[in-house]
């Protein structure tokens, strides 16, 4: 077996080495993508520009405005002279949030009356808009709570700053940085790319160039050809994974908290599943073009959209949720998050690991059926 696979392995290495461009793409593009996505694709919403029209211009209203500016979520203070100017600022996209403070604001508060303000939020980017709304809510309720507490203390003379003192702590990703989350998604996409696309392209190339016929008339069996080929792509996928982890550590501070052995096991099973998909694609496509199209549509797109990488699975319609069950990236992401971010053990993701393993078996089973019919 090994003796038979060796010439194919050697040949494949020669071809890959000769094609420096593709090799470079396979190994370095992942790191490049990581840098691009890591810095550019940022789901964090910070430094929102805010504008005020302060009709009141009293001490309380200035305190109120300062409570916004002191939080890290808002900056770029614009002070409008009229509500029309505030409208204009939002029209021009200079502010995302506009706050109008009426002239009775300070007076009402001193009297102990409920007062009202108007908040305008630019909803054209719903993501930013809803996050901004959340921040505004938090700032305002904090401000009114502080006022309330002050009043109550004056009257009751009690030492009570907080009614319920709560201190939230966010675990695993304390700064809620989306890059930690992203890097894991990227690792799964990149592994998927180098295994699905490269294997399917490399096998279909043999069909396209007719070299497959020469191999069929030789004593080499189709599965031996396939193994000889995929060994290379597994190696390349592993090398680029290592590069991504290194880049992730140095550029974005993503540490692997969990067990390295479990991580490698997860990665290997995932690569296996991806190779299974790649082989299936190559067995149904006749040209490199169609193999590429199929790989992108069948594997890459679902991995991006349906794996829980970008959109949470629980928010999807039930029918779509069902589809996500056959997407290996879905399970791999859970495994990665558990090992890399949480550092948790097998107990928290064994189901995902097992399901992924069965998916790999399923895909390889289908391939064996095809290969038995001598179809590559």
């Amino acid at each position: 077996m090994l003796v038979k696979i060796k010439p194919i392995f050697v040949k494949e290495i020669r071809q890959i080495m000769r094609d420096k461009l593709s090799l470079g793409i396979l190994i370095f593009i992942p790191v490049f993508m990581l840098i691009m996505f890591g810095y550019a694709l940022n789901f964090d919403v910070k430094h929102l520009s805010i504008g005020f029209y302060d009709e009141d211009n009293g001490k309380t209203s200035r305190d109120f405005i300062n409570s916004f500016i002191h939080s890290e979520y808002f900056d770029n203070k614009y002070n409008a002279e009229s509500s029309a100017e505030l409208d204009k600022l939002m029209q021009e996209g200079k502010i995302v949030i506009g706050v109008i403070i009426p002239s009775v604001f300070s007076k009402d508060i001193i009297k102990g009356k409920t007062t009202s303000i108007q908040v305008l939020i630019d909803g054209s980017n719903s993501n930013t808009g809803s996050t901004a709304l959340g921040y505004v809510n938090a700032v305002i309720s904090n401000f009114s709570k502080d006022l309330l507490v002050k009043e109550v203390r004056k009257k009751v003379n009690m030492d009570m700053t907080e009614i319920i003192d709560y201190r939230p702590r966010i675990w695993y990703n304390p700064e809620l940085k989306s890059v930690r989350f992203l890097i894991l998604g990227l690792i799964s996409l990149i592994l998927l790319m180098s295994s699905v696309i490269s294997t399917s392209l490399s096998i279909v190339k043999e069909k396209e160039n007719n070299t497959i016929e020469q191999i069929i008339v030789s004593p080499i069996k189709p599965y031996e050809l396939v193994i000889g080929k995929i060994v290379n792509y597994i190696l390349i996928a592993i090398i680029s994974t290592i590069f991504i982890f290194i880049a992730g550590y140095f550029l974005f501070g993503v540490e692997i908290k969990g067990n390295y052995f479990l991580l490698s096991l997860g990665i290997l099973i995932y690569i296996g599943t991806c190779l299974g998909i790649g082989l299936l694609i190559s067995s149904i496509s006749e040209t490199q073009q169609s193999a590429f199209m199929l790989s992108s549509i069948i594997s890459l797109l679902p991995a991006f959209i349906l794996s829980g990488f970008v959109f949470p699975i629980r928010n999807m319609p039930v029918a779509i949720q069902l589809i996500t069950y056959i997407i290996p990236t879905r399970y791999f992401l859970v495994i990665l998050r558990n090992i890399v971010l949480k550092g948790s053990g097998l107990i928290s993701f064994w189901k995902d690991l097992l399901t992924m393993f069965f998916l790999a078996l399923l895909f390889f089973g289908l391939n064996i059926i095809r290969l038995k019919k001598n179809k590559i």
Binding site: K4, D19, I212, I215, I216, S218, P219, I220
Partner: protein, 310 residues
């Protein structure tokens, strides 16, 4: 003693709507060179692929070398070579690397001497470090042949090996083939060129998936009953029309500047001349010729088409 190296019966392959190879029986002796000729779509390539085991036949029995054609297919693969119609080597590997790869997948232990021999033989020694994709058409074909021969096969199957190769390289290639024959290798090839087929020890004519005839050129010629005359006139198209209407003429074939007719009695030629003269066609020459493969081929195909219609 049965000295047939190939003995195949009922070789058939049906694709969805067509029968590409229709019940072919084939016997080939060791050291023979069999040429399969036929128009495009006759089923030549499918026939070769079936014989090599690339395509699986619907129905067939027989032996190749000492092995069962169907059951011991894998064993046969160690002893045969195949050269496909389309160039099928790795264009991004060098000449040397290509041969090395095919040697290794055939598990040829010491391929280096054999490789040098083959490169010498095919006159590719000077190009051994060149990428296969950068070779000329003729050199590519010679390299492909070298790869086919690296494991010293007993039988080689060549599918249109000289199509798209320039005349000089073609002659070169044939020289190599004759050298191989001398070494006792059995060659089965397909070719669209009838002049190439004439050089084979036996010729099989293929049409619509069937072998119309399989015999030596000499014997095939004998099968042609009657005489062939070549008629050259000033108005060839009109001549063809007039001659086609004469029922005494078995067959009329045009070849651009001349018409060949098949008649059973030599005397009939006078009638032909008279008919042409009465239509005021200027006769340039009328000669009896020995039948060419082309004459026989066209004649056989016409017969076959008539049979199939019935």
């Amino acid at each position: 003693m049965n000295d047939n190296i190939i003995e195949i019966y009922n070789l058939t392959k049906k694709f969805k709507t067509v029968t590409a190879v229709d019940n072919i029986n084939l016997k080939v002796k060791k050291g023979e060179m069999l040429g399969i000729v036929g128009p495009d779509g006759a089923g030549k390539t499918t026939a070769i692929k079936l014989l090599c085991g690339i395509t699986i036949p619907d129905n067939s029995t027989g032996r190749m070398l000492q092995y069962d054609f169907i059951k011991e297919k894998e064993k046969i693969k160690n002893h045969i070579g195949y050269l496909s119609q389309k160039f099928s080597l790795y264009t991004d590997l060098t000449v040397d690397e290509n041969i090395e790869f095919f040697a290794e997948i055939h598990r040829v232990a010491d391929y280096k001497t054999k490789r040098n021999e083959l490169l010498q033989f095919t006159r590719l020694l000077d190009f051994r470090k060149r990428l296969a994709g950068k070779l000329s058409g003729g050199m590519k074909q010679k390299l492909a042949l070298a790869c086919t021969l690296i494991h010293t096969p007993d039988i080689i199957f060549l599918d249109e090996p000289t199509t798209g190769v320039d005349p000089v390289s073609r002659r070169d290639f044939w020289k190599i083939l004759f050298d191989l024959l001398k070494k006792g290798i059995t060659i089965i090839l397909t070719t669209p060129y009838l002049d190439e087929a004439e050089r084979c020890s036996r010729i099989s004519m293929m049409h619509n998936g069937k072998f119309l005839i399989i015999d030596s050129f000499k014997n095939i010629k004998k099968q042609m009953k009657g005489f062939i005359f070549e008629v050259v006139t000033a108005q060839i198209r009109k001549t063809y029309k007039i001659l086609s209407d004469i029922s005494a003429i078995d067959e009329v074939q045009t070849f651009g500047d001349r018409v060949n007719i098949l008649i059973q009695k030599k005397e009939l030629i006078e009638k032909v001349k008279k008919a042409l003269k009465s239509e005021k066609i200027k006769i340039i020459s009328v000669n009896e010729i020995s039948p060419s493969l082309e004459n026989i081929f066209i004649s056989l195909i016409k017969e076959n088409l008539k049979k199939e219609k019935k």
